[in-house]
Amino acid sequence: MTPDYYLVLAAILFTIGAAGVLVRRNAIVLFMCIELMLNAANLALVTFSRINGTLDGQIISFFVMVVAAAEVVIGLAIIMSIFRTRRSASVDDANLLKY
């Protein structure tokens, strides 16, 4: 069983995540798509680790999970407070910071 399939899967997952970030407006869905991209990256890292026979990739993927967890905490908090003030979770409505 070649590791290439895992890499292809990682690429597909990442593409789905990126496309989701670009086309969806709901902040929660956006968040999930970001998680998808992060996990695609994790998968790629683990796969490379396997291919090279070293543990580096696996260790980095743990870091990624920790960072992702921290991000979720802060990100959800921000989304909650935006939703409270605007009654909307659409990222296109939160466009005040512009020219």
Binding site: V21, R25, N95
Partner: protein, 641 residues
Amino acid sequence: MEQTVEYAHATGLLSGIWLLVAIPLASAAVLLLLGRKADKWGHWLGVLAVASTFVLGLLMFFQLGGLDAERRSAEQSLWDFIAVGGLHVDFGLLFDPLSGVFVLLITGVGSLIHLYAVDYMEHDEGRRKFFAYFNLFVAAMLLLVLGNNYVMLYFGWEGVGLASYLLISFWYTRPSAATAGKKAFLMNRVGDAGLAIGIFLMFATLGTTQYDEVFTGVSALSGGTVLVMGILLLLGAAGKSGQFPLQAWLPDAMEGPTPVSALIHAATMVTAGVYLIARSNAIFTANHTLQTVVVSVGALTLLLGCVIGAAKDDIKRVLAWSTVSQIGYMFLGVGLGGGAYALAIIHLLAHGFFKANMFLGAGSVMHGMHDQVDIRRFGGLSKYMKWTWLTFMMGWLAIIGIPPLSGFFSKEPIIVAAFEREGWTAWLYGSAALLGAGLTAFYMTRLFVLTFHGPKRWTEDIHEPHESPYIMTVPLMLLAVGSIGAGFLMSTSVPDWLEPVFGQEQAEAEPVLAHWLLTTLSILVTLLGAGLAWALFRNGTAEEPEPAGVLVTAARRNLYTDAFNEAVFERPGIYLTRALVFLDNKGIDGAVNGLAAAVGGSSGRLRRLQTGFVRSYALSMLTGVVLVVGAFLAIQLGWLA
């Protein structure tokens, strides 16, 4: 021709030369600084300052006369004026025979005119200021003639220019007076620039501006350098003396009060050009072409002045053009060189008397006629202003050269000297001088007859013109005495007196016509001109100028010299400034403002990229990452190799 010039040191009374400049200067300072406090007595201080300077000058003059001919000069260095590198200029004064006669003319005629002005300016609020400027003028003029180097001369030269400007536009609330002052100042600048460059050239080639060193060194210079130096000095002289091509300011200068016209624009300041050339005789004698240029300027100007003077109706302007013309005679004299230098100085002194006399006479007439200046509106005044009439008559007879009045002894020798040149130039310049004498007789007689004789053509508001008070007529009488006697007295004494300055008179060349014939001719021409004017204007003239032929119209418009100046210098100047303003506004400002607008505008467009939509930022980040990764891959896989 090797020539060395040395001046003796000042001794005795002559060591107080500086007082001659200091007294009027101090008086001017007091009058200006005290302001209104000095209003009550300021004019008398002004008169006193000039009169005491006259007495002092007279004493010094006599002491100078007591010295030997070789040592007849007094030089005094007061302090280092400028000492920078190789340039060293003393604040030095020189009292020699030439300066001496000028000092006497300036302070003597000046005192009389100051006295006259006490009454003339009586009803003017600015009388104290007037006397302050007047004293300032006397101080500057004395510095001009007493300096012992060209920088001192230039100092005085600018000083009289300033005083002249202040006094021409003394009634500055009148636009015409303000403009005339500006015109005089600007035209003088043209000449002064020439003089300044001439002095620079002197320093560059000779390394000094002291008179004695310059005159000694000039014989070693090349002919071309001397010519350029002389032309530059001549430009300065022409500017100050109202000679062609810088004559246009002088007649307009008559906008000033009449005593100013008499002292500054007739008797003294305008003769500074003649003084400059006479003083620089070593430079002008050293180059024949230069002398020809000076003679030509003189001859041209004297005819120009006569022709225009004959067509003017303003009494002061006729006298002003006559001044231009008479100074033309003086330039003719100093240009001829040799013995004619002294003749020019004699004419200058005699002119100082009779022209000041006539200007003050004109002032007296205006005083009695409600400031009317148009000779078409005078007539028959001889009955009402006896003293003015008599003294003016002396001035008139003197200027047209009727023997034995002073003009005859001063002008006729210049005419004869003009005939003493070689070949056809004798005929050219001689006949110009002779023609000028006839024209002078014509226009001065016209002026005299229209003012004092013939039917009354007064304006309605005048019933009985009054004679001026004695404080005005006494100076007139004294000047009239000068107009009568000065010429005869000076014709023999002055050439001897000035010998230390101009050198030994060379053997006289014979005139192309016999001497007695020329004298007779000049008297005949004069009588012809005077007789013609008498016949034409005995019965008065129209009260308004009538349409006239081409020549008279041209002369009324100053032979189109003003129009020429306007077309050639003024308008191109105005267009040039307009073009520069346009270039500045549209070109330079346009480039700077355009750049700023371009930056501002394009950043305004670029700003629109910041949409505020998170997803569009994400797209651009993704695009960037894809590009970077693509580039890495391209290099890694050797696609670009």
